[in-house]
Symmetry: C2
Subunit: 500 residues, 2 copies
Amino acid sequence: MTDKTTAYQRLETQFHDICVLEDTIQVLHWDQATVMPSGGAVARAEQLARLEVMRHEKLTAPGLADDLAAASEAAEMDVWPAANLREMHRIRKKAVAVPADLVAAHSRASSLCEFAWREARPADDFSAIVEPLGELLELTRAIGAARGEALDCSLYDALLQDYEPGASSAYIDPLFDDLAGFLPDFLEDVLTRQTAAGEPLSPEGPFSTEAQRALCRQMAETVGLDFDTARVDESAHPFSSGVPEDSRITVRYNEDDFGEALMAVLHESGHAMYERGRPEDWRYQPVGRARGMVLHESQSLLLEMQACRTQEFYHWATPALRDAFDGDGPAWTRDNLLRWATRVERGFIRVDADEVTYPAHVILRYRLEKAMLDGDLALPDLPAAWNDGMKDLVGVVPPDDRQGCLQDIHWYSGAWGYFPTYTLGALAAAQIFQAATASDPTILPSIQQGNFKPLMGWLREKVHGHGSCHATDDLIHQTTGAPLAADAFKAHLRQRYLDG
Amino acid sequence: MTDKTTAYQRLETQFHDICVLEDTIQVLHWDQATVMPSGGAVARAEQLARLEVMRHEKLTAPGLADDLAAASEAAEMDVWPAANLREMHRIRKKAVAVPADLVAAHSRASSLCEFAWREARPADDFSAIVEPLGELLELTRAIGAARGEALDCSLYDALLQDYEPGASSAYIDPLFDDLAGFLPDFLEDVLTRQTAAGEPLSPEGPFSTEAQRALCRQMAETVGLDFDTARVDESAHPFSSGVPEDSRITVRYNEDDFGEALMAVLHESGHAMYERGRPEDWRYQPVGRARGMVLHESQSLLLEMQACRTQEFYHWATPALRDAFDGDGPAWTRDNLLRWATRVERGFIRVDADEVTYPAHVILRYRLEKAMLDGDLALPDLPAAWNDGMKDLVGVVPPDDRQGCLQDIHWYSGAWGYFPTYTLGALAAAQIFQAATASDPTILPSIQQGNFKPLMGWLREKVHGHGSCHATDDLIHQTTGAPLAADAFKAHLRQRYLDG
């Protein structure tokens, strides 16, 4: 027993370092996306690649395997250490399947392709990115193939594990099929109703970056961040990073439409609040880390789409928005601003999409990324396939690749398998928000006062504070009384867009 | 032979990772000093401590010792690999003397004390920092004692090795004694002459931060940086960091005196240019790293004090300064601006000191830090000892600790043993600049045109490009024809302040 305890303690020490390496990698990524001069790209790629390999070396060290075996024989463990040990096994199993050289090559290719994308996107030059993207795709396939063999699953399911442990196409497909069956007719109904009611008025800009920056800060503070422990910066693609006491979220400012930054800061603040609520005692252990991107996205979308597009939120936010931009007139009434924030339209850009069309954007990417990985879609054909898919699924065709297949950072940074988590997260967000507001009737009236404490308190207790102790579906079941399904999401859409 | 080559190759792989860890640690330090919210301090301390330990673990791994032994038996090696191997030995020897726990504790204490200093300094509250500083001092002494035993040198000399390999009190003392004998009378003569000539006029502010920022950018570009591969930011204490293609320099802006930021940007650009000139083929090997802080400071001071306080520089810079601040009138003539930039006065702040009084600031810190380490000066007595020393050495007493013993970051971040390198660097700067201008007569006329290419080309060839291939004194001897001495520095001072 003493021996086994020691093995577990050694594991905690090793995984502490692994977690610190992951946090460090995040600092480097944040720096790269927000402040790094372009000339630093190659050196940064080298730093990231070597740190990834150091993490991999720690995970694949023979001593770790021995300690895992020894610790697993311990007769009794408390819930948290037992879950921690389970996570250690899972993470190691995923790592040992992939050779260190491939980890390094993939990391380096990701950094360089991401950097090339930062130039190709504004230049609308897909051809410039085909070669680095092709190299990255090949390395990603090699990782997926190696890991799929070890985990006895498909290449695609193997890649999903980087974003959502336990996810699979078999899990995703029925949920997406359910939505795909529901949404097209629903969208038609919503658009018809919206047209009949009259389109909402757009607040007229320009909206200075300075004023938007102040508004974003106010919004982040309102939902629970404070600026002794957080920053809001700008990047080409909004994201959330950092550690619980040093949240780093980013947005991008469009002086013609403050709604983009407003929704981004609420979305990214939801991610940051999840990280901040992770169990403090397990901060540097696998069980104390975020469960996966489905819950992560559920928290960002819960804030952005569920809580902050309600009558209650706009009751509080309308005066704040008017103050921020000296807004006045019919576009700046509470009713119009809420209708404007919840307007539905067939658009080109995923991150700006409303929640009715958003799943179609994700389903397109899900199909395309599987086709790329299966070899059914050659990269030079991606723009055309994208545009065809947009026509089928969303009903519009982007005028250029910048607003088409170049818009998202994911593939260009090596993240094949990430996209489905957005829509799974949207389903989870609806289901969890429904449970939260049913369980605590003060949540919505508090939001009407600009007070997010009841909501965030509930989420911390029911979701954030569990870290990786439970599987995603178990946590959702435990928190909402049912496994993840599309029902709550569909009910929410009907209520907001047809019955509201 | 094959076996020995392999050992050396394995060493290169290991040291590549060690260098990447060092670069990563620099990114974290830069982030901490410039953008990190205060709440991130504890997590950052943890990251830095664990990365320091990972570096230490790599340096002290048994395999490394075996490979070093095997590689050293190789019959013939080229100059660069041989120097690289020598550096590997040196670095490992320094590391193995100190246990990993002490490395971690010292790193953590450094981060936390530095963070406390960031609050104590503006609050002028030395008492608030005594406890963390005391802990840090004890850990620093423990490192110095352990390493001194292994390297067979004094505790202080052991600490010097972190900043200047091969330095010792025995090397420093005669040079400092030479200066201490020369400077007091010289200072009197300079002040008398300056009074007789009439004090220069101070350009009158306020000088907007925005205009200073633009000026700093222009100056950095003029001496050789470009903003695809560099950034200039703000921090409480100016510093230079980053990697060759991603220089990160910082300044601080005083709206009453643009000279502070101007001199800081030239100083830090000198550091950055040194890093940028390191030998590209050896970027991630010990022999390709900067030699030490004496050469580093020689490069910053060569730019700040030698090249950029000349008639030639002000010929070019005067119109730029007038443009930057809409300067006009008698304070803005070339003659007055140069006299203002080279005015000598007994002041409180080291980083703002002229080159005549600067060594006295350093000698004070050298004496005090040795006394602290020897146990002859208790920390609560530091402010009084500081003020006494300022009276003796500089001739003025600071009105508060903010302008006294709290002004510099060094001790508060664990850097005992760093200060002497400033004055050794000033001597080297004078000696190298004398050699450069004698060897290439186009250097000064080019500076007069705002063209630093001849100077930087010469420095790259003679200094930067040698990395750590030679010992500091050997490089200086080879570059200037003589070992480091105070002669050139004294001749420079006489020429500029008495004969000029």
